[in-house]
Amino acid sequence: MLTDRDILELNELCSALIDGRLTELQKERLRWWLANSESARRYYARMMSLSASLHHYASEMHVEVPATARHRVGFRQLLKLLVPAATVAAAAVAFWLVFGSGLSPVRQKATKHGGYVAQLTGVKDCRWESTIAPLAVGAMLRSGQQIELASGFAEVTFDSGAQLVLEGPAKLEVVSPWRAVLHTGTLKANVPPEALGFAVKCDVVEVLDLGTEFSLRVDKPGVADLMVLKGQVEAIPDTPTDREEIILTQNEVRRFTRWGVYVTPDVEQKFAKVVEPIPFERASKPLELVNWSFDELVGNLFQARSFGTGLGSPDAKVESASDWGFLDQCVNGVFGRALSLDGELYAKAPFKGISERRPLTVMFWVRVPQDAPLWGAYAMVAWWVNNPKLGSRPVHIGWNRNANEGPIGVLRTDYAGGYALGTTPLRDGRWHHVAVVLVPSPDPTAPLSAKQYVDGRLDGEGKPSPPGGAMSTEPNTVVSNTLWIGCRLGATGPRKDRFVGEIDELWVALEALGPHEIVKIMRENRAVIGELAQAQP
């Protein structure tokens, strides 16, 4: 019979075993338990069975991940073993359906893709494989989506900021903002500091970027060549004999195979084309931007600068319930002066079109006091969205004050149908750059995709909110078409909640900006229209 303490220990040991981080000491302890206690063996069996079942259920829900070539060959061989003659065609079809299409419990995959995680940002003489629809520059790529390039070059920019140049023929799968799988072909990865930790995997190695440029080539299953062009990478071989990570630095080259890792002197020439600068065709973005610098308060107005929006000058008017005036509202900011919000003040700017369903990027610098009260979390910036699908609801950018949902003080965006939470603490008395990108999505279960960046690094993506009460679908005409700064928004106007902190250089783009564009504006603080499309890490 196991005590509660025994169970806790066994749970720790089993979890460490499952996650591959069992220490020698723990290994000894687990062996002792299993050798000496039938109850412990039964607990172990239940825990391992639970883990196997979780693999099964997660596979069922997972987006499409094609089996590796290695697995496909195996199943075809098995098919040959099972159905040597055409006389059992029906059985063959059944078997192929079961195994070949991935309906096997451990390999079961849905055909549905996940949310947007990357974008095709450049093409050069691209010819796509006939098995997929041709992709245009600017195409958003979803988690689990594969791109198959027959020839030419394609540039894929991930939401983390990592950028891959693909040389055809090649097959790449975008997995997440932080991860890609190269099935075949050659790529060059350029990873800016904001995307540190980005990984590219193939069947024999996983390359974890440590701030660098590297090239990877997969000619055939089981063989991959890696060359570091700049900085360093951590390469983790995925072979039966070797799983020790290797740190490679500039100009180092390795060949990874199922049988081991080798130094090969003649690999550089294979990367000759992809490492050269490629004159990509890119989408030209006629950007529409508005900026409030908060450098000078004239009366109760902060002047706005508008670039290509046709909005005129949507100046922000400062409002307060008190009669103290606005004498101390300008403090030193990141660029010139900044707006100081004391828990009473807020500002609003007319912004025609902001309440419509469209892509939008909101960026600003913010400083939150270390001792900011919980009531001062909402909202740095807010606006109302009239969405026929999601209802008529405000978008609030603030910091999280709900400990049940995430760490207190991290960036939080609430919108109709979902919310996003970051991981970087903002409540530290320092200036941080914040950007929130909202993109309407065709997915009926998640009609809005949200991404947050803090100091240029991807810091939280939107997820659906738990089902709530009924909400109005009638467009709100009272608070719409206005950008609200420093207050929480209700259907009839600002609520009592006010943001406490300082805000500087607020930019709104009527476009979903990419990670490099956000970093460029963060660093240069200017309307880099025309340059943005060329923005490189």
Binding site: R46, A52, L54, Y57, Q77, P105, V106, V181, L421
Partner: protein
């Protein structure tokens, strides 16, 4: 055409249909058995594939009406033993005696583990969405703790701790669920 019809109903064809049906129906159970012995998804998948091949080769030895899963798990057990010889240093946690003891315990618990699998689906539904997301990101194909930590905005250490806590939570929930159904 007649030959085809005759051929489709031949004993050999019927036997192969039975093989397809059994192997399909019980893949998850055989995988779970192997996984408990090698405790790594990719190794378990490779071994499942090897086991499937042996099952196909030796299916003429299987007696219809007897316990297919027990027979298949016996094949899987010997594939695991053979695999352990190849990876003796790097991957083996238990010695042969302990492996045999664990395999025996697994065999006696098959029915219970099946029921627990079904109950787990209900318990997963009950998890907080943030916790469920962590579990799914960890366990999806090619998932890892590192990836799950990134996706759910946790540090790596926090993700390890949360996963350990959630496994215990789910195990307890399944036990509670089964007790309720009795």
């Amino acid at each position: 055409m007649n030959d085809q019809i005759q051929s489709d109903s031949s004993p050999e064809t019927q036997r192969q249909k039975l093989l397809v049906s059994l192997i399909t129906q019980h893949q998850r159970r055989i995988f779970a058995y192997i996984y408990a012995l090698v405790h790594n998804r990719h190794d378990a998948e490779d071994l499942l594939q090897e086991t499937n091949e042996v099952i196909c080769e030796k299916f003429n030895e299987f007696e219809e009406g007897t316990d297919f899963v027990a027979w298949a798990c016996q094949i899987a057990y010997w594939r695991v033993r053979y695999w352990r010889q190849r990876h003796a240093r790097a991957k083996v946690v238990f010695d042969d005696d302990l492996l045999s003891q664990v395999a025996q315990t697994l065999s006696t618990m098959r029915k219970e583990l099946d029921t627990r699998h079904e109950a787990l689906a209900i318990c997963l539904e009950k998890l907080h969405p943030r916790d469920r997301e962590l579990i799914m990101a960890r366990y999806e194909p090619d998932g890892s703790v590192r990836e799950a930590a990134y996706r759910t905005g946790r540090s790596l250490e926090a993700a390890y701790k949360a996963l350990s806590r959630l496994r215990k939570l789910l195990l307890d929930c399944v036990t509670h669920q089964l007790a309720k159904e009795l």
